[in-house]
Amino acid sequence: MSATSETVSKASVDLRLLLILGGLVLVASILSLFVGYAQLPFAAALHGLTSGEGTEGIIMRDIRVPRMLLGVIAGGALGMSGAALQGLLRNPLAEPGVMGIASFASLGAVIAIYFGLSLQFEMILPACAMIGAFIAAILLNMIAGQGNSIYTLVLAGVALANLAAALMALALNLAPNPYAVSEIVFWLLGSLKDRSFQDVLLALPFVAIGFFVLHGTRRSLDALALGDDVARSMGIDVTSLSRRVTLGVALTVGASVAVTGAIAFVGLIVPHLCRPFVGHEPSRLLWPSALGGALLVSLADLAVRLVPTGPELMLGVFTSLIGVPFFLWLIFRLRADSI
C-alpha cells in the first residue's frame, strides 16, 4: 500500500460520497417542488414552474421554489457549521442549535423585530441574527474551549440556550402587539413556510461566505485533533483558527436562522452519520455534512407537509423530535466509550 495511492483513493471516496449526497439532495428538492397544500396536478405544477403563468406559476415560483432553496441553504449551513464546531471543540456533541448559537441568532432576529429595526433596513435582521450567533459562539468558546470535557460543553450550551430563551420570553412578555408574539414564536420554532425569494437572497451570500471561511479551516481542524500543543507545534495558529471557525459558524447559522428560525439538531445528527464515511477526519467531514444537512432539512420539510396534522407541524419542532432521542443516545454511547 502506498500513501500516494491512498490519498488518491481518499479523494475518490470523498467525491463519490459528495456525488451520492448531491444526487439525493437533488431528488429531495425536486420532490419538494411537487408537494404542498395547494392540490396541483403534476402537469399543472410543471407548467407553472416553466411558464410562471397564472396561479400555478405563483405557487411554484414564489412559494415552492424559495421554500426548496431555503431548505437546502439552511440545511447546508447547519450541517457544515456543526461539523466545523465539533472539529474545533473536539466534541461530537457540539451543535449550533443545542449549544445555544441558533437561539442567540433567533434572539438577535427577535430584537431586530421587536425594536422595529428590521422595518427600517432589511439587512438589519440577518445582521442582528449573525451578531447573536457570533456572541454565543464566542461565549461557548470561552466557557468550553479550554477543557475537553463533554459535559462542560453541554452545560455551557444549556446555559446559553436558556439565557436566549429567557430573553426572548422577556420580549414576548413586553411585546406591544399580538403579531409581534406570533413573529417571535416563529423564530423560536423554525420553519420554511411562507418564505420568499427575498429571503433566499438575504441568506445566500452570507451562508456562501461562511462556507468559504469554514472551508479554509479544514486542514487546521485535522491538526487540532492531536491537541492544541501539537497543532501549534505544527505551525497552526490555534487562536486564529478558533476565530475563523467562530466567524464561519456565525455567518452561516446567523444568516440561515434569520430567514428560517432555529432548526435544531441538524448539525448534530448529520456530521455524526457522515463521520464513518470520511475516516473520521474533520477536514473531509465539512462538505459531506453540508450536503447531508441540506438533505435532512429537505426531507424533514417534506415530512411536515405530508404528515396530516391540522396546522402544519413546525420544522424546528420536527427536527427536535428526531434530534433529542438521537442526542441522548449519543451521550449514552460517549459515556460507555469513556469508561
Binding site: 500513501a3 491512498e6 491538526a223 485533533a225 492531536l226 473520521h280 477526519e281
Partner: protein
C-alpha cells in the same frame, strides 16, 4: 553551530519558578536524554524549545536564529514536538494520523510523492505499517504511542523533541523506540528526549542532561552525568552502576531518606 541553544532561560508558571537561569545547547547528530525528578522542569524545557511557551527571561536560538524571529510555519518544518501522553480526539485511521505529521510541509493540496514517502518510512520505522488501516481507537496504549511517534518523525525535522515517548511501551518497544530516535540522530537530527528510565537513558543516549528544580545539575556522558553522587543528590536514590558489553548499566536499588538539594 548548535541546533538549539538556550541562554539563561527562566520560566515562571503561576508565579512559581520552573526553569531558573538555564543555559544549554544541543548539537545536530546527537541523541540527548533529559532526566530529572517529577516537576523538575523537563516538559517546560521542551515547550520552551518548541516555541509553545514564552520564557520570562533569556534567549532561545534555533539553528543560530532567535526563536521569536522564526515564522511559525517555517519553525514547524524544523522542530517536531511529541508531547507527553498525547492522544487523538477522533477515531482516525493510523495512516491518516501519521500523515498529519506532513502538514508543515504540505500545502492545502493533496500530499506529494515526497510526503507519501516520508509517511511510509515513518510507519516502517515505528513498526506500525501493519496497523496503517486500523482506527486509532482499536489500538492498545503502546501501539498508539508508537503511531504518535511516527507522526512526529514523518515531519523529517532537524530537531526532534520527544517528551517521555516510552511511558506506555513494553520493554521490547522501549528499546525499539530508542533505536529509532538514535537512528534519527545518526541521520543528522538533534534529538532531545525526556526519559524517566535511567537504565534506558544511560544505554541509548550519548549525552545526558540532569535537570533538578529548574536548573542543570549535571551534563555529560551517561557515566559522568549519572554518577552515584548525582543520583543521590538529585533523585535521592542509590543505584547499582555497572557495565554490560561496553555500555553502562544503571539500576536504581534503594531510596534514600530525602532528596538533598543541589
Amino acid at each position: 553551530m548548535s541546533a538549539v541553544s538556550i541562554t539563561s532561560v527562566s520560566v515562571s508558571l503561576r508565579a512559581r519558578p520552573v526553569l531558573k537561569d538555564l543555559s544549554l545547547s544541543f548539537e545536530s547528530g546527537v541523541c540527548t536524554g533529559i532526566v530529572g525528578p517529577n516537576g523538575s522542569g523537563k516538559s517546560t524545557l521542551m515547550k520552551v524549545i518548541s516555541g509553545l511557551l514564552q520564557p520570562s527571561g533569556g534567549a532561545v536560538q534555533i539553528l543560530d536564529r532567535a526563536l521569536s524571529s522564526w515564522p511559525r510555519a517555517e519553525l514547524a518544518r524544523v522542530v517536531s514536538y511529541l508531547p507527553q501522553g498525547g492522544d487523538i480526539h477522533w477515531p482516525m485511521k493510523v495512516s491518516s494520523v501519521v500523515a498529519l505529521g506532513r502538514l508543515p510541509h504540505a500545502s492545502d493540496k493533496a500530499l506529494s510523492a515526497r510526503d507519501a514517502d516520508a509517511i511510509r518510512q515513518a510507519l516502517q520505522k515505528c513498526d506500525v505499517t501493519a496497523l496503517a488501516d486500523r482506527p486509532m481507537t482499536e489500538l492498545s496504549g503502546g501501539e498508539k504511542a508508537r503511531v504518535l511517534l511516527a507522526r512526529a518523525l514523518a515531519a523529517e525535522a532537524q530537531i526532534i523533541l520527544a517528551d517521555e515517548p516510552l511511558a506506555q511501551l513494553d520493554p521490547h518497544h522501549q528499546i525499539h523506540a530508542m533505536e529509532v530516535l538514535q537512528a534519527e540522530a545518526a541521520r543528522g537530527a538533534a534529538v532531545i528526549v525526556v526519559l524517566h528510565d535511567l537504565a534506558i537513558a544511560a544505554r541509548h543516549c550519548e549525552r545526558i542532561c540532569v535537570i533538578s528544580k529548574g536548573s542543570l545539575a549535571a551534563d555529560g556522558s551517561p557515566v559522568e552525568a549519572l554518577s552515584s553522587d548525582h543520583l543521590r543528590q538529585v533523585f535521592g536514590i542509590d543505584a547499582y552502576i555497572g557495565e554490560h558489553q561496553g555500555a553502562p548499566v544503571i539500576l536504581p536499588v534503594r531510596r534514600r531518606a530525602a532528596i538533598l538539594s543541589v
